[in-house]
Symmetry: C2
Subunit: 218 residues, 2 copies
């Protein structure tokens, strides 16, 4: 597990946590990541779905995607996931903050060309977003596989950063009469909405009815 | 409002929406953004708080922050915000997707050195996260202002991308018996948690008790 100088959390080092387990848990809980890459001297940050399998992070999309074309060439990239946990209501503006868990992965991607690895990555991408869905959908055709690019990035240079707990105010500020505390925030799922074109005879499957954000696995 | 070739949504162009109002609404609703920049040839993507004021996007942080030091030099940057709205449960793996609203802003930042502009940006950053808070906290001291860097980026080259609505399956797949529809997801706030060090005599203010994600303004 690389904790290189590039991924060492420089400021507020108490917020840096580097264990592989912490990093994996954050990557696994997040529904989306933000991918950074450079094209023509301009950095781009694009949201997309990811899944972690062992020490590899997989992304996918259309073969026509600029992001995937760029990443496939093996240029330096950055994949960041962020889970918001709360708003830190400190007594001072200066110590007002957010509780969050984030992971930054640096590296170069490779295009996944092995048919088995590519199929497995797509299966796990679907299962990452909705556990239980892969065996209850129409799986990809050869044409669809050909229209899809999958890239993988080794999670070899990565760091996690976490802020948790109540505000940390200046000692003198605790005597002030402003309210202070946390407002928890989290991604929540709502009531499933059947496709208007769905026959009423098709029941909501358990994995949809019982779906909860934050219970994603790898 | 610039819709340059760099920010034109190339793939799935029906998902591209370019109006300034759509872009502003997405920037204003998002609690955090992801900032992309390059340092030493490596792209980095860092989550942070932002606020939009007119056609300017403001970011802030410690004067020691690598991100802000880099951005202050005026290098090319990218600020992306993403709001997740739902999981699109299509009949096929290929059309499985997410509903979301995202904005990509390209440009170069400048350090905000004017004292009034800097103070206003910090005030609006606090108010963006918790409307009503600025007048009910301990405002920044001169030392705190000096320890804080604020940068601004003009929202001149920006695009929004939105997916909404039910799955769009292949015509033949509508006859399949798999469930299809949407699982809505959104960021929700929970019950405020007073700081353990808060005297019980200080009541929860209305702007905290009635706090709801997604009601942020600029």
């Amino acid at each position: 597990m690389g904790q290189s100088s590039r991924t060492t959390v420089r400021r507020l080092p108490e917020r840096g946590v580097y264990g592989r387990e912490s990093i994996n848990a954050i990557l696994d809980e997040a529904l989306i990541c933000h991918v950074g890459f450079v094209d023509g001297g301009q950095p781009f940050v694009i949201p997309t779905i990811h899944v972690r399998l062992g020490d590899q992070l997989y992304l996918h999309g259309s073969r026509a995607s600029r992001m995937l074309k760029c990443l496939s060439t093996g240029i330096p990239a950055c994949v960041t996931v962020t889970l918001l946990d709360g708003i830190v209501v400190a007594r001072s503006a200066f110590h007002s903050s957010m509780n969050y868990r984030s992971v930054v992965v640096l590296g170069a991607a490779r295009e996944v060309t092995d048919a088995t690895e590519k199929w497995t990555a797509l299966e796990r991408l679907v299962e990452h977003v909705i556990p239980g869905r892969w065996s209850d959908l129409r799986q990809p055709t050869e044409n669809e596989m050909n229209a899809t690019t999958v890239v993988a990035m080794a999670i070899s240079e990565a760091s996690a950063k976490v802020r948790a707990g109540p505000p940390k105010d200046d000692e003198d500020d605790y005597a002030l009469s402003f309210w202070a505390g946390l407002i928890p925030v989290s991604l929540k799922s709502g009531q499933p909405q059947p496709d208007p074109k769905l026959p009423a005879t098709i029941p909501v499957p358990n994995y949809v009815r019982e779906y909860r954000c934050g219970q994603q696995g790898p």
